[in-house]
């Protein structure tokens, strides 16, 4: 008798779980790292919360720590089976799996972070944070006394290589002799290595560091401790390094996500490559730190105004590679394919993309 009751309540629990999930308004989010990483994944989770708040009746599912391997296929499929009709695959390596699964589930809409592939129901979204990093690079170039900048990053994927180049180009706009030394840590989240990478750069005479790892906290604090400067990424770290932070490039994914979700729900959505930027507010230039003088602020804000007015384009020629070979001739804009699969460093960057 008891056993039967237990079984009945098990069935009921399962049924409730299934019914609760099968609402038409369910949106799934997949994160590559911890949801609370104070970095890239947190920025996406803030976007999720914004969607849930902004569109009445929306329910979201979210799953963290999913590697960029075939694991994500299972996660996406389970999400769909749990009722998700829209899936935000928020890390770069999920793309091929999203496209493959898109064929199996034609009624589900997939939104993938970056990349230049589409499916009938798979679109991509990304934001050109390069502009803000370029402006951060300007601050770095102006503040640096040694003319040696450093950049600490996890892996040489295009979205990181772009940041390093943009950072360097911005700095060179202020001081043409500036170099950027790159250190790869080989992991998105390894604070000990991040701290040591920062120390190595500082010992080598670097006095401003840019970074693109999961969370900027450790690097920013190391810079503060050693009395040098840092340009942040993903979230504002001024709290952790009030003196060291020059500025940074943060995300605000919410509005873009809301717009896409509304389009999908209205049936007007067509898969495309949505790209946000400084102008639409997906990318935010963090407030300046005290080390950035008024003159420097003015010149950075002037360049920002030019970018917003389409008078200035970061990715336009003349651009040369590390070895001096030409990438783009003067006046030519970089094609999107080259930008989104970038695997070279510009002149002035010290390090290797391999």
């Amino acid at each position: 008798m008891k056993l039967r009751n237990m079984l009945r309540s098990l069935v009921a629990t399962v049924a409730i779980a299934a019914a609760g999930a099968s609402s038409a308004q369910t949106i799934g989010y997949i994160y590559v790292g911890p949801e609370k990483d104070y970095g890239y994944n947190t920025s996406h989770d803030l976007g999720r919360q914004f969607v849930e708040k902004s569109i009445a009746g929306t329910k979201t599912l979210h799953v963290e720590n999913i590697p960029e391997t075939a694991e994500v296929s299972r996660v996406m499929e389970r999400m769909i089976k749990s009722g998700a009709s829209i899936v935000f695959a928020t890390s770069y390596g999920y793309l091929d799996y999203a496209i493959e699964l898109g064929k199996k589930y034609p009624k589900v809409a997939f939104m993938h972070a970056g990349g230049l592939k589409l499916g009938d129901n798979v679109g991509t979204y990304w934001a050109n944070s390069d502009d803000a990093i370029y402006l951060g690079g300007m601050a770095a170039g102006a503040v640096s006394k040694s003319g040696k900048l450093g950049f600490i990053a996890a892996f040489p994927i295009p979205q990181v290589v772009r940041s390093i180049n943009a950072f360097t180009l911005g700095a060179q706009a202020v001081n043409p002799k500036v170099t950027t030394t790159v250190v790869w840590t080989g992991g998105w989240l390894d604070p000990a290595k991040e701290a040591e990478a920062a120390n190595s750069l500082i010992d080598a005479g670097v006095d401003v560091i840019g970074e693109q790892v999961d969370s900027p906290i450790t690097i920013a604090q190391t810079a503060e401790k050693r009395g040098i400067y840092v340009v942040g990424k993903d979230v504002d770290v001024a709290k952790f390094a009030p003196k060291a932070v020059l500025t940074g490039a943060s995300w605000n994914w919410g509005p873009t996500m809301v717009k896409v979700v509304k389009e999908i729900q209205a049936g007007t959505w067509k898969p495309s490559h949505i790209r946000g930027d400084l102008k639409d507010g997906t990318v935010v230039l963090d407030p300046f730190g005290p080390a950035v003088t008024d003159t420097v602020r003015k010149s950075i804000l002037a360049r920002k105004a030019d970018i917003l007015a389409d008078k200035f384009e970061v990715w336009s020629g003349p651009l040369t590679r590390q070895n001096g070979a030409e990438i783009l001739p003067a006046g030519k804009a970089m094609p999107m394919e080259m930008l989104e699969s970038m695997d070279f460093f510009v002149k002035g960057v010290i390090g290797t993309v391999k």
């Binding site: 911890p34 949801e35 609370k36 990483d37 104070y38 947190t42 450093g150 040489p156 030394t181 790159v182 250190v183 790869w184 840590t185 080989g186 992991g187 989240l189 390894d190 604070p191 000990a192 290595k193 991040e194 701290a195 040591e196 990478a197 120390n199 190595s200 750069l201 500082i202 010992d203 080598a204 005479g205 670097v206 999961d214 969370s215 906290i217 450790t218 604090q221 709290k239 952790f240 010290i350 390090g351 290797t352 391999k354």
Partner: protein, 306 residues
């Protein structure tokens, strides 16, 4: 600055900092293994130590309290290993892995609210006047209390193991529990004590990692260093004296893999990251070729038959 200067300037302190959390864990595991118990749960103990230490420091603003909390947390988690392998004689490898999972999971769960919290922590213990000295200054300027503590713990544990009666008893248990029992020792009790001491030290190592070295809490932040420490016990030949060079070798190679990049070595970073592992294996091989003597406690052999 030549490439050589870039690689060497500040290298020693860099290697020391890298080696500090590892040294605590390594000394602890060495003492544990000396009594014939292997604990793969080190990774989990580092993590709960790091998390609790960070939480305590964030709450009370005192990093010393953080170190105490980390040590206690590491010890508490290691009690699970003690209960399983001594209490129920479960397989030590499986038990260690279970402790690793528990530690990873618990620290990630309870640590998530700590992400993004700022702590005040140790400053350099070197007075400014000394730090400004030309050669010496740059070497020791970055010294913090946990680095000093790690350096001190090595001779203390070595002298204790080799020169005291208790140390002798611990070693006897590791060689042969039966003989030790005949001589009046209680092998089970000693093994429990050894596991707990290992837990305490690895918790301290975790605390050094989060509170002092990185001033960050992030889930899984030990990034495999605990497992490496279990292996480095063999490089140190189960001798506390050798734990420090072993940890320094690994920490130094890790620092070098980053420093070579700053000197524009023009070698793939992925290959440079192999350095700590290859260097450890090379040193192990060289010392074995010379010595050919294994100093493994005989009792450890029995581990695999269970």
């Amino acid at each position: 600055m030549t490439a050589f200067d870039i690689v060497t300037s500040g290298f020693l302190i860099s290697a020391l900092r890298s080696a500090t959390p590892l040294t605590f864990a390594l000394v602890g595991e060495t003492l544990t293994q000396r009594t014939g118990v292997i604990n793969l749960g080190l990774e989990g103990q580092l993590l709960v130590g790091a998390m609790c230490a960070y939480a305590m420091t964030a709450a009370w603003g005192n990093p010393w309290l953080g170190l105490v909390a980390g040590a206690i947390a590491g010890m508490a988690l290691s009690a699970v290993h003690a209960a399983l392998v001594v209490g129920t004689r479960a397989n030590q490898f499986a038990s260690g892995l279970a402790v690793w999972m528990l530690g990873f999971g618990l620290s990630a769960y309870y640590g998530s609210s700590l992400v993004g919290r700022k702590i005040e922590s140790f400053e350099s213990i070197v007075p400014k006047s000394v730090a400004d000295l030309p050669v010496l200054g740059s070497v020791i300027a970055g010294l913090t209390p946990t680095v000093v503590l790690a350096v001190l713990i090595v001779p203390v544990s070595a002298l204790w193991l080799w020169r005291t009666r208790t140390g002798l008893r611990w070693r006897a248990v590791g060689e042969s529990p039966e003989d030790a029992r005949a001589a009046g020792a209680n092998p089970s009790l000693i093994r429990i004590q050894a596991i707990l001491l290992g837990g305490l030290l690895s918790g301290l190592g975790g605390a050094a990692l989060s509170v002092d070295y990185t001033r960050t809490w992030a889930e899984g932040m030990s990034a495999g260093r605990g497992l490496v420490a279990v292996g480095l016990v063999i490089v140190a030949r189960w001798n506390p004296w050798w734990t420090f060079p072993a940890a320094l070798l690994f920490g130094g190679a890790e620092a070098l893999s980053l420093r070579l990049q700053t000197a524009d070595a023009n070698v793939s970073a992925h290959l440079l990251h192999c350095l700590p592992y290859v260097a450890s294996l090379a040193i192990l091989t060289l010392t074995y070729v010379r010595g050919r003597v294994s100093s493994a406690p005989a009792g450890l052999r029995a581990v695999m038959d269970r």
